[in-house]
């Protein structure tokens, strides 16, 4: 038996290490199914050069937050979306823009912008800092469209009625649009924090 200083160990369960170019929106679900709770991104994640690339990476972070995956990552640059659009997502440990990272980490609070699925409806809760609290209930076709927007991030993949719903979602601050990509902002609340009333 050994007692060591805190170390980053590899292996299933403790965590996985991947390169930044391996981060996909599907990865958090795969890791969760494998019982993995932690992920280390080996190299800095570059953001800010291409808005569509940024949105795909933020989609990964949205899914990672939804799965409560503990991601250890370093930010190179800053995302090409407004700072408030990312503060509900798991923040970087550090980054090239220290002030930006510090602000993100300070603003981050698990669960501050999430949605929940119910029978025929979706509820959305937005209690991010620097804005009024918003509680929405979306039902009918709008709920179907909302959930369709949560399933993809590519505008070309959207059916016409869902594409029209994207316009509304952007207008209401539920999504951001790039050139060919978009991102539904709130994550699905799959795991409640302790205490459960904190989200």
């Amino acid at each position: 038996m050994n007692v060591t200083a805190p170390v980053q160990l590899g292996g299933k369960g403790l965590g996985r290490t991947v390169r930044a170019d391996e981060l996909t929106p599907a990865l958090p679900a795969e890791l969760a199914a494998d019982g993995c709770e932690r992920l280390v991104v080996a190299d800095p994640v570059a953001l800010g050069a291409d808005v569509d690339d940024d949105l795909r990476l933020l989609w990964f972070l949205r899914e990672a937050t939804s799965r409560t995956l503990r991601v250890d990552w370093v930010l190179d640059g800053r995302p090409s979306v407004a700072p408030r659009e990312v503060t509900h997502l798991v923040p970087p440990r550090t980054g090239t823009d220290a002030a930006y990272v510090a602000a993100w980490r300070a603003a981050y609070r698990y669960g501050s912008y999430h949605y929940r699925r119910g029978p025929g409806f979706v509820t959305v809760k937005d209690v991010r800092p620097d804005g009024p609290p918003v509680h929405l209930t979306i039902d009918g076709d709008s709920a179907v469209h909302f959930l369709a927007l949560a399933e993809t991030g590519t505008i070309a993949d959207l059916a016409p009625d869902v594409a029209a719903a994207l316009d509304d979602a952007v207008e209401f601050g539920l999504a951001v649009r790039g050139v060919a990509a978009f991102l539904l902002l709130p994550f699905r609340m799959r795991h409640w924090p302790v205490p459960y009333v904190a989200a």
Binding site: M1, N2, L9, K12, Y115, P119, V194, P195, V197, A198
Partner: protein
């Protein structure tokens, strides 16, 4: 023609959820062909009134403060007692003295009290505006005085309106005493109301007699009559689906709406299956109806589906005193299959198995109240809880792994307990920093219906009504004794000075919890225990020896050393003993009465401080 019936729930009903008694009685009346009673939601109206008259200086958070924290000092009742007694000064100096001795801040309650008379007048006017022939008040805990104050005013303004009281505060002798003490209350329904209340309404219409209404308190020529309470509890199949339509409609248009997230209340069982065989010695919560009854799984799932769909609300409070143990295999898996993002509260027995905790988590149960009460086995035996302290720690550990919020209090003041009972456990509390602490430690209160109340020989032979009622009711002791729920008695067990180390240990536990993790991880053929507790060295303990890895797994169940040796055959008893001593020095195990429990969780929740 059905009568015009108003059902009223006055403060301090939860602001975030509809009144379950009102919802049940609405359905029961409709099912009995009596039409749908209309309702008066006094919690909403009182909060709206406070917001209006104070320009939002008082609001939902203040209401909830009194509702959740005022009960054991009677603060909610005290707010309205000056109105009930038509004496603005009644109870003021008495509460001042009471609060000063206990260090209680009464500023908020005092400020609210200044608005109570106008609100009672408003509530009576609003109820009478609906021209009711019958007004039924449901009263539990601190709803008595505000309900009585409004009822008295209604009676003064409209003597022909029939006033009916029911609810938990009217169970058994309490209902009869309330009926005796307050002549403006025409009837009191004791026990379950789903049968008795519609029967009373029919009797008022000449269909049946008052003498046949189970549990009813009524009068003949001013002389009280009391009917026997229904001998057999209501079968679960006859408990109606509550009708909450009116509350949800009202809350949607209320200025309070922006401050709260509405929650559904559901009732899947009544009574307590544990208490039927081993009633916890201090607990009187089930009143006169301990017999456990639960709804069928089909009914539970159908009701949940109906209420969630109808009201588009995913937060659900199950008001059961204890979950039906069969639900872990029947109801919860079916709820999980719905794939809704529910957030459910349930009360459970504290000896949960990992599979049961997993079933809760998968079904969207995020909050449990397991009745842990203590981590000291001898004291738990005095309570007749049927679990050990170590077993309770195991439940805390496994709920932590599943990210279930656990609400519990640490109770002391049991007749035979001594400081020596606590010493070993207190020394180990620093090792529990990563597990959820109790809200606080508190001396048990003598509750009506509890074994300690019913049988003075168990340790509390002397009793009088709790001191808080002195600033709530203007009644003689003998008139109050049958009406109230809490009693004063000589302190037993730990003195306050002896309890101080417990309070201090819990205080430190609170400070450390959010930043503390202790997690077991399986890595490449080894067991790694990551210690990130705030009060312990941050280190990783790597166990690679197959014998010790197997022993560690055994200790996760909570085993004695001989049991581990018997089950594994190795390592040797001496080596195992030395190793366990080493684990204890590092706070990695909890040891009580010869059993050893490994403390690391298998997953870590997201903690929000």
């Amino acid at each position: 023609m059905p009568r015009s019936i108003c059902l009223a729930a006055l403060p301090w009903q939860s602001l975030e959820s509809p009144s379950l008694p009102l919802g049940l009685l609405r359905s029961a009346c409709a099912d009995a062909g009596l039409g749908l009673p209309w309702t008066y939601h006094g919690a909403l109206r009182w909060t709206e009134y406070l917001m209006a008259v104070t320009d939002d200086e008082l609001g939902p958070a203040d209401y909830t403060d009194i509702a959740e924290n005022g009960m054991f000092h009677g603060l909610g009742d005290w707010v309205f007692t000056g109105v009930l007694h038509d004496d603005p000064d009644f109870g003021v100096s008495t509460l001042d003295d009471y609060a000063a001795r206990r260090g209680i801040d009464t500023a908020l309650a005092t400020r609210m009290r200044g608005h109570a008379a106008e609100f009672v007048a408003l509530a009576a006017d609003e109820i009478l505006a609906g021209e009711p022939e019958v007004v039924g008040f449901t009263t539990t805990f601190m709803q008595n005085v505000p309900s009585l104050a409004v009822a008295a005013r209604i009676k003064r303004l409209a003597p022909d309106v029939v006033i009916v009281f029911g609810g938990g505060n009217c169970d058994g002798p309490m209902g009869a005493a309330l009926h005796r003490n307050y002549p403006f209350v025409d009837f009191v329904v004791r026990g379950e109301g789903e049968v008795a209340f519609p029967a009373l309404l029919k009797a008022l219409d000449g269909d049946g007699s008052f003498g046949d209404v189970p549990g009813l308190c009524w009068r003949v020529d001013g002389v009280q009559r009391t009917n026997d309470i229904q001998p057999h509890p209501l079968p679960p199949g006859r408990i109606p689906v509550p009708d909450f339509d009116d509350w949800f409609a009202q809350v949607e248009s209320s200025p309070v709406r922006g401050y709260l997230e509405p929650k559904l209340v559901v009732e899947t069982a009544r009574g307590c299956w544990w208490g039927q065989a081993h009633q916890c010695t201090f607990c009187g919560l089930n009143g006169s109806l301990m017999e456990f009854r639960s709804k069928s799984p089909d009914t539970v799932v159908a009701e949940l589906r109906h209420l969630v769909t109808r009201h588009q609300v995913l937060d659900v409070i199950a008001v059961d005193n204890i979950i039906d143990n069969t639900y872990f295999r029947t109801v919860l898996p079916r709820i999980a299959e719905l794939d809704w993002d529910l957030r459910v509260h349930y009360e459970v027995k504290s000896n949960l198995k990992p599979a049961e905790i997993d079933a809760l988590r998968r079904a969207g149960v995020a909050h449990v109240q397991p009745g842990i009460e203590s981590l000291v086995s001898p004291v738990l035996t005095m309570m007749d809880k049927g679990v050990s302290g170590l077993r309770n720690v195991r439940t805390l550990r496994d709920c932590e792994s599943a990210a279930l919020t656990v609400s519990w209090n640490w109770l002391y003041g049991f007749p035979e307990e001594t400081p020596a009972d606590y010493a070993d456990v207190l020394a180990q509390i620093p090792a529990l920093s990563h597990l959820q602490p109790p809200s606080a430690a508190g001396r048990i209160l003598l509750e009506r219906f509890s074994p300690y109340f019913e049988n003075g020989a168990l340790g509390f032979p002397e009793r009088s009504t709790a001191e808080l009622y002195r600033h709530v009711y203007r009644l003689a002791e003998q008139d109050m004794a049958d009406m109230v729920y809490l009693f004063r008695t000589e302190p037993r067990g730990l003195t306050e000075a002896q309890a101080e180390p417990l309070h201090a240990a819990i205080g430190g536990w609170h400070e450390r919890y959010t930043e503390s993790y202790l997690q077991r991880i399986d890595v490449d053929g080894a067991v790694v225990i990551q210690d990130r507790r705030a009060n312990w060295p941050h280190e990783d303990i790597v166990i690679e020896d197959p014998d010790l890895m197997a022993a560690y797994v055994e200790l996760e169940y909570g085993r004695s050393l001989p049991a581990v040796v018997d089950r594994l055959g190795s390592p040797s008893p001496d080596r195992l003993r030395d190793w366990v001593s080493w684990l204890r020095e590092r706070g990695l195990v909890f040891i009580e009465q010869g059993s050893i429990l490994a403390l690391a969780t298998t997953a870590a929740p997201v903690k929000v401080g």
